[in-house]
Amino acid sequence: MDEILTNKLRILADAAKYDASCASSGAVRRNKGASPADKAGLGSTSGMGICHAYTPDGRCVSLLKILLTNYCLFDCAYCINRRSSNVKRARFRVEEVVQLTVEFYKRNYIEGLFLSSGIVRTPNDTMEQLVLVAKTLRQQRGFRGYIHLKTIPEADPWLIEQAGLWADRLSINIELPTAQGLARLAPEKNGATIATAMGQMHERIAQARDERRHFSPAGQSTQMIVGADDSTDAHVLQTSDSLYRNYALKRVYYSAFSPIPEASAHLPLKPPPLQRENRLYQADWLLRSYGFSVEEIAAGGENGMLPLDIDPKLAWALKNRDRFPVDINTADREMLLRVPGLGSRAVDKILSARRHVALRLADLARLTTGLGRARAFLIAADHHPACLIDRLDLRQQLAKPAAQLSLF
């Protein structure tokens, strides 16, 4: 690889890294066609996705995540690539991205490509270039790995739909939880345009699925930046909840606004604690898979913000102690899912095992690693936390792991 390309790659990877999504999951197998490119085809997708490496920030490297260019006409305050930023700029040619993807893929570095771009000339022109990369990979290189395209909601509808022909997943970033925040920090963007584009994609993806056609088979996702405006966690979760309901999004990614070089004066000086992002992800799971409502989750905290020191399920349970303790040998699935420390897999194992044996604490210890948090909230064949649940210092006890005692 020559030095110019290596340098471009550095700039355009740096420019893309604030997008949190990296999943390579949910793809369906691509059929092998009859054309020569297909026969010499490269790649496969795995349902769960694969993380090929982890960087020292603990994040997974699954896809080659780059921008086609970081030149941009938009001026979004939270973005390092806004037109008023003094960051170094670069631009890939379509063939360069194709080459990089294929060479990295052949060495088993990546699952595929995550391609986004700054807006150059017009949204349509930019979207066309993104589509061209994906099309070239699929048609000329017979590439069957994962492709995630960032779609530009300001582009014409037909262009966004062309992207669905080649990509496994599409995403349109909602960026901020409220339309007011967006208007203030991203003057060229428009909440209604974003919502229309998401709605359009949702309809097409659902139609194609019904008709068994290949069209963005791994659905669509989005990203929300947390901490760049004054939205509370409750605002954020309400927005996610409506996105899941209205557009059947696969995932909403939360990206704690992180300090960037060349920061804009419109931004808060201090970044939010990273823990906030973590708590939002946990709350998101509760919304999607544990039957919680936004109101219930928000009630676990104060003033619309989730507690940072304990997870949102535990926070909810501590404020709803009258619902506990729960008997693991008789409680229904819905209630077991609400016990702090029990995940959905542990709950399924409990339900299956208790048909054959009466579960004791020792059994439970083999079914979940969250027993420490769970035991105050449940009854087992040999365990009743009679007074534990009412203890005033229960929160403190569970928030911090007990200090190690040393023998002297």
Partner: protein, 481 residues
């Protein structure tokens, strides 16, 4: 009491274990009477005896054992646990099988049982090892004798997973030539055939690759120093894997410099833009929609088709601001060959009907809802396929834009597909035939001429034709009114 000594091959000896289990079960040998051994030269069911000098009642060599019916989940568990390096694995599995066959049929459902729990953990360990091999293995490029690419990887799995890992790499890199070398054995794929080779040495693999510098640069750039979290990184990517991954050489430096980089970011005040604001370019962004029918047609002609088959786009034709624009379903075989709408059999029928209705085709605009011929190749014939609702919708934006430019006084939908494209919802012809409104456009819905060609008898055809011509007359009146 009789003792049984079973010797299996090193590694994951599934075949040997299966055979042994069948015979042990047939001979009703309880787990506590079996000693499992692993030897380089397995004397498969040779040594029998428990040291007390008491001979087994029956030699396993001669004992017949047929297949044993086990729950499906058990087979998967056995296949995974067999790959574990723990020498106890066979004994544990046989105990499990014995219990399942002796009154605990649903044992696997009791995840809290200590044996089930232990085996499940072993299964998970093997699955994780396998997953990490798929993820962390890195190929390096070498050359084949004839100058082609040969990708070679060195990897050290914790468990006996080499064979289990093979299908993933074969599926993914089928068209390439590659080798995977491990201390337990090697795999070689030549594009057609998988060959199992002997244990290899680290030195047998190349020690560098020209692409690695670029990859390391990517890895360094995608790291965000403001989020340093080495605990999570190490949890997912333990250090034991690092030696085979070229990018990990960057980790120490990235970790050391992270804090200083963040400090600089936080202390640097917001800078004023060095370049002038590109006001003109920003204003010009809004003008991106095609500004003429020609511009739109160029876009349609260059775009990838939304339907299978489809060799080229067949665009609409006719004068601007006509009295009537006719919208059909999609181009057919002839239209696709000639690149013009309504020139095949249905088009000829339309021509006749237009003449009978007193409409000049040359003064009308003709186009299709779907711009490409969707077909399935059967031998030499290309068989027309009806476009799905989703496919029609993909083309809708183009059609509406096209009519915006053409500005007909009346739009006539020929058939259900056109009606769907124009209105955005399914409209059965039998019920919605006649005058219609498409958005703000005046419209009319009638049959597609191809429908008449498909009618079986002449009488029905004649009747349909009469009603079709009547519809066309009516639309002519509406358009000129």
């Amino acid at each position: 009491m009789a003792g049984w000594r079973i010797a299996l091959k090193p590694g994951a000896d599934l075949a040997g274990f299966r055979l042994a289990v069948r015979r042990l079960v047939a001979a009703a040998v309880p787990p506590e009477d079996v000693v499992w051994e692993i030897g380089d030269a397995p004397d498969l069911f040779g040594g029998i005896g428990n040291g007390s000098g008491v001979e087994a009642e029956e030699s396993i060599e001669t004992g017949e054992g047929g297949p044993i019916a086990l729950p499906r989940a058990m087979t998967a568990l056995i296949e995974a646990v067999i790959c574990h390096r723990d020498p106890e694995r066979y004994a544990l599995l046989y105990t499990l099988i014995w219990r399942v066959l002796h009154g605990e049929r649903a044992l696997l459902e009791v995840s809290s049982d200590p044996l089930v729990h232990r085996l499940d953990r072993m299964r998970k360990t093997v699955a994780r090892d396998l997953h990490k091999m798929h993820a962390f293995l890195r190929f390096r490029r070498a050359e084949t004798p004839d100058g082609g690419e040969h990708f070679i990887a060195w990897f050290e799995p914790d468990h006996f997973i080499l064979d289990a890992a093979a299908p993933f790499f074969v599926e993914r890199f089928r068209a390439l030539t590659w080798s995977i070398l491990t201390p337990d054995g090697s795999l070689h794929w030549n594009g057609a055939e998988l060959i199992r080779g002997p244990a290899a040495d680290r030195q047998d693999a190349p020690d560098s690759d020209p692409v690695e510098a670029g990859w390391r640069g990517y890895y360094e750039s995608t790291f965000n120093p403001a989020r340093l979290n080495t605990t999570v990184m190490r949890g997912h990517m333990p250090k034991k894997y690092w030696h085979a991954m070229p990018e990990t050489a960057a980790i120490p430096h990235l970790v050391q410099s992270a804090q200083a980089r963040v400090k600089t970011m936080l202390e640097t005040e917001a800078a004023l833009p060095l370049k002038r604001q590109p006001a003109k370019a920003v204003a010009a962004m809004a003008k991106q929609a095609p500004e003429s029918l020609d511009a739109l047609n160029r876009i349609i002609a260059a775009a990838a088709p939304f339907v299978p088959g489809a060799t080229r786009a067949v665009l609409g034709e006719g004068p601007m601001a006509p009295e009537i624009a006719f919208v059909g379903e999609q181009p057919g075989d002839q239209e696709d060959l000639q690149g013009r709408p309504f020139v095949g059999p249905a088009g000829q029928l339309l021509d006749r009907a237009l003449k009978d209705a007193g409409i000049d085709r040359g003064k009308s605009y003709l186009t299709n809802a779907v711009k490409h011929f969707k077909f399935e190749q059967r031998g030499k014939r290309r068989i027309h396929q009806k476009p799905t609702t989703g496919e029609v919708t993909h083309y809708r934006w183009w059609l509406l834009k096209e009519l915006d430019f053409v500005q007909p006084r009346l739009v006539v939908a020929l058939g259900g597909t056109a009606a769907l494209a124009l209105s955005g919802r399914a409209m059965p012809i039998t019920r919605s035939r006649g005058e219609a409104t498409f958005g703000t456009r005046r419209g009319y819905i009638t049959l597609h001429p191809a429908y008449m060609l498909r009618l079986p008898d002449a009488a029905a055809q004649a009747a349909a034709y009469e009603s079709f011509v009547a519809d066309l007359r009516r639309s002519r009146e509406l358009a000129s009114a």
